[in-house]
């Protein structure tokens, strides 16, 4: 029987069936589950690498050694891995190598919505685009065949809706493991100019052959339509939207291999229809390619570049119909994501807000420190940028070469905040720059002992591997000291006084320092919580001091009988962290613990 399977799980199944042996990835929504699911197969060695560049190079090494390999990442992760990507295109592979990149149109959990298809064209690599879970499984397997036939890594591009939607899948058996002997080949694998110059024409020739392959590939297929007034070219999840909106009214050319595109088939399709419309999310990638072939077509004149598409937008533009529902004439307060009750980041961000710090932030759950009432973040760019930008910020304002006293005043309260996993990913190199080029900087590592936002993945500081088994553990304090930082201290973010004292002292010190704010994520299964707190209504005066930490378990409620307002704790959310208690001048918070607890 067919199984209901998430796109990412089906992709992992594809890796298994294809005989993949080594998978190295860095977690990133919406790509994370591929490697997590692959790790459930004992036949595949899986790991979390410190970052995507390391993951891709590891996968390359495994392919070079003669085993089918994989690395997966989100769209912005491919930026980090772009360096090996462009040159592994030149060297080619030994055994098959597949790279998955998962885009996030609509930015459900990302800082931008770049279109990764451009990478396939720029790095001259084939790219496949599945549109549901069954295709995810099949395309991942197909990718290995293409990889070995054409001596190239193959990119499979997922998107949020394909990665995180479940649809029915027919599974198969695992193929025999590929074991290609490793042979030394300096001209192919040592990319110094003399060798690389000879490899470039091979890459161009490969692309020419792949164009022909694309024209004959069943991954690019025609769906018949009743009327040829319009013909639609589409791929990925947009194919599903088109079919839902139009059914079999118009012919559809469904693209499964999005690079290189099937030029001859596109021309043939275009000739057979009166009006050619390209339906694709984000950039006009297919549209511009068609125009470069001299084919007249529409696309972004109808559909937005920004955000996700859906069946409704397509029906509106192509069928001039749309569905609507009843709407309330009422202002509905938004419900933005918030730091969880008991989140260890909260106490630290409260301290930063209280000290009016300029906070250069980073990527993770703690980016929510920017949300009111904490509002303790000034900048978030990309993985690791907090540390490097802090160095630049401080260098620009340091009181030398005519720097004004006003400038030195500005840098007094500037800090960087970065999570443990993000620090391992790309914060270390920024910290090396501070150590080397000597800015007076205060870096705060928010060590919650896990990669939080993507759903609890282990990292080099946690002491466990992807399967949860004991692994190497990097000691953050020793690492920072080894880089030359004399001032490295650890604070408990549940202790507001300790955080405040440490922050003040380190900002006042005359050398750089690292503060490690350490407490495991409150959602980790092994974390034991205290019983929830409650409010003594006789003591609470409704001053709202406790509301300054933005805890979702706290609210202010009217007590109609008493005619007063007081704080209230939601006992289903409160984990007894006690941060609110430290803000109350009236001792109004009490434990609900029974005697002996």
């Amino acid at each position: 029987m067919k199984q209901l399977m998430q796109g990412n799980t089906a992709a992992a199944r594809g890796l298994y069936e294809a005989g993949c042996c080594v998978a190295s990835s860095y977690p990133g929504t919406p790509s994370t589950e591929i490697t997590e699911e692959a790790a459930k197969f004992n036949e595949i060695y899986c790991e979390w690498a410190p970052n995507e560049k390391v993951a891709m190079e590891t996968a390359f090494g495994a392919a070079l050694a003669g085993r089918r390999s994989f690395c997966g990442m989100k769209h912005v992760g491919l930026n980090v891995a772009a360096d090996p990507l462009f040159t592994v295109s030149y060297t080619g592979i030994n055994a098959g190598m597949v790279i998955c990149v998962a885009d996030d149109a609509g930015m459900h959990s990302s800082q931008n919505e770049q279109d990764s298809r451009h990478y396939a064209r720029a790095a001259k690599l084939p790219m496949l685009e599945p549109s549901d879970s069954q295709e995810a499984l099949e395309f991942f397997k197909k990718a290995y065949d293409i990889s070995e036939e054409f001596d190239t890594p193959v990119i499979v591009k997922m998107c949020t809706r394909v990665a995180h939607s479940q649809s029915l899948v027919e599974i198969g058996e695992r193929e025999e493991d590929i074991d290609v002997p490793y042979e030394k080949n300096i001209a192919k694998y040592v990319m110094m100019p003399g060798n690389a110059i000879k490899r470039h024409p091979i890459v161009e020739e490969r692309m020419r052959k792949l164009r022909i392959y694309s024209d004959f590939s069943k991954m690019n297929r025609f769906d018949d339509g009743k009327s040829n007034k319009i013909g639609i070219i589409t791929s990925s999840t947009c194919y599903q939207y088109v079919k839902e909106a139009c059914g079999d009214l118009y012919p559809v050319f469904k693209i499964g291999m999005v690079w290189p595109l099937p030029d001859e088939k596109i021309k043939e399709f275009a000739k057979a229809v009166s009006r050619l419309v390209i339906v694709e999310e984000l950039d006009p990638f297919i549209e511009e390619h068609c125009k470069s072939l001299g084919i007249e077509c529409e696309g972004k004149n109808l559909f937005p570049v920004e955000g996700e598409l859906n069946q409704n937008i397509i029906a509106q533009k192509l069928l001039h119909s749309k569905t609507t529902g009843k709407k309330l004439d009422e202002k509905i307060p938004p419900r933005p994501p918030v730091m969880c009750a008991g989140c260890p980041h909260r106490g630290l961000f409260y301290t930063l807000n209280k000290n009016k710090c300029t906070v250069l932030g980073d990527i993770g759950c703690y980016t929510l420190g920017a949300v009111a009432p904490l509002s303790a973040m000034d900048m978030t760019l990309c993985m690791g940028a907090s540390v490097s930008a802090l160095h630049g910020f401080n260098k620009a304002l340091e009181n030398y070469n005519g720097g004004s006293p006003a400038d030195s005043e500005k840098i007094k309260n500037v800090v960087a905040v970065i999570g443990d996993s993000t620090f391992m990913h790309s914060g270390m190199t920024g910290l090396a720059n501070i150590a080397y080029n000597q800015s007076k900087s205060v870096v705060i590592i928010l060590d919650n002992s896990i990669t939080g936002m993507t759903g609890h993945q282990q990292n080099p500081t946690t002491g466990f591997n992807i399967k949860g088994d004991p692994a190497g553990k990097i000691n953050l304090e020793n690492l920072c000291r080894a880089m030359g930082f004399n001032r490295v201290r650890v604070v408990d973010p549940y202790n507001l006084k300790e955080c405040n004292d440490a922050l003040k002292e380190e900002l006042a010190a005359d050398e750089s320092s690292v503060i490690i704010s350490r407490r495991p994520c409150a959602l980790l299964k092994y974390v034991k919580h205290k019983p929830p707190l409650k409010v003594n209504e006789n003591k609470c005066v409704g001053c709202k001091s406790c509301m300054r930490i933005g805890c979702p378990a706290l609210s202010i409620k009217d007590n109609c009988q008493r005619g007063s307002r007081h704080a209230q704790v939601d006992s289903t959310l409160c984990v007894g962290c006690g941060v609110c208690e430290q803000l109350c001048k009236f001792d109004a918070f009490e434990s609900t613990a029974k005697e002996g607890e």
Binding site: S109, G325, K326, P333, R335, V338
Partner: protein, 191 residues
């Protein structure tokens, strides 16, 4: 059969993932084509979350758009109001009456709208509202709201036998919590 669309809406962390998993399993055993779509990552942190479950002879799009939902199953009344526009004119709402203040309300920047249930009913849509939190606590855990809601929803699926629901619960709930969840389902069904 034409495609039926269910939306499960609530607040991140309320248990919509299990609810959609269970529905997905149930509908697959009934030999429908099924798609379930949810969003992971940042919005899960206490934000407004939505999951789509679609089934029929052939399902294409994994998402549900405005005016397309046959059912909205909601964990929280403000979320019911937020997603109301997605309901078909003749669609059915099954909602918990629970209220959870979003951050702009907690900080005092905005107020939680009053009498939301009445206002939703006044638009003329079909609403089945019940205090799922109370029933879940009666079953043994405030976390079982999802099963109370599904129990209630099962009323509207006449062609699915009760045994199939039981089998789906057994397949999706860890054995340790099975009795509790079955009880929550029954309480929702009988409410």
């Amino acid at each position: 059969m034409t495609t039926k669309n269910i939306m499960i809406v609530g607040v991140g962390g309320q248990g919509s993932v299990l609810a959609s998993k269970l529905l997905g399993h149930l509908l697959t055993t009934q030999n429908f084509d099924v798609k379930v779509s949810e969003v992971h990552g940042m919005s899960q942190r206490g934000g407004s979350v939505v999951t789509y479950v679609k089934y029929g002879d052939k399902v294409y799009s994994p998402v549900v758009e405005k005016g397309e939902a046959d059912f909205i199953v909601s964990f929280e009344i403000l979320e019911t109001a937020r997603w109301l526009e997605y309901l078909k004119p003749d669609g059915q709402i099954v909602t918990s009456t629970q209220q959870i203040d979003p951050m702009p309300v907690l900080t005092g920047a905005m107020t939680y709208p009053e009498n939301l249930l009445e206002k939703i009913q006044a638009t003329g849509v079909k609403v089945d509202a019940l205090d799922c939190l109370k029933l879940a606590e009666e079953a043994g855990s405030s976390k079982a709201v999802n099963l109370v809601l599904l129990g209630r929803l099962s009323h509207y699926f006449n062609d699915i036998k009760p045994g199939a629901w039981q089998e789906a619960i057994e397949a999706c709930v860890p054995p340790k919590f099975l009795e509790l969840n079955k009880k929550a389902f029954e309480l929702g069904k009988q409410a």
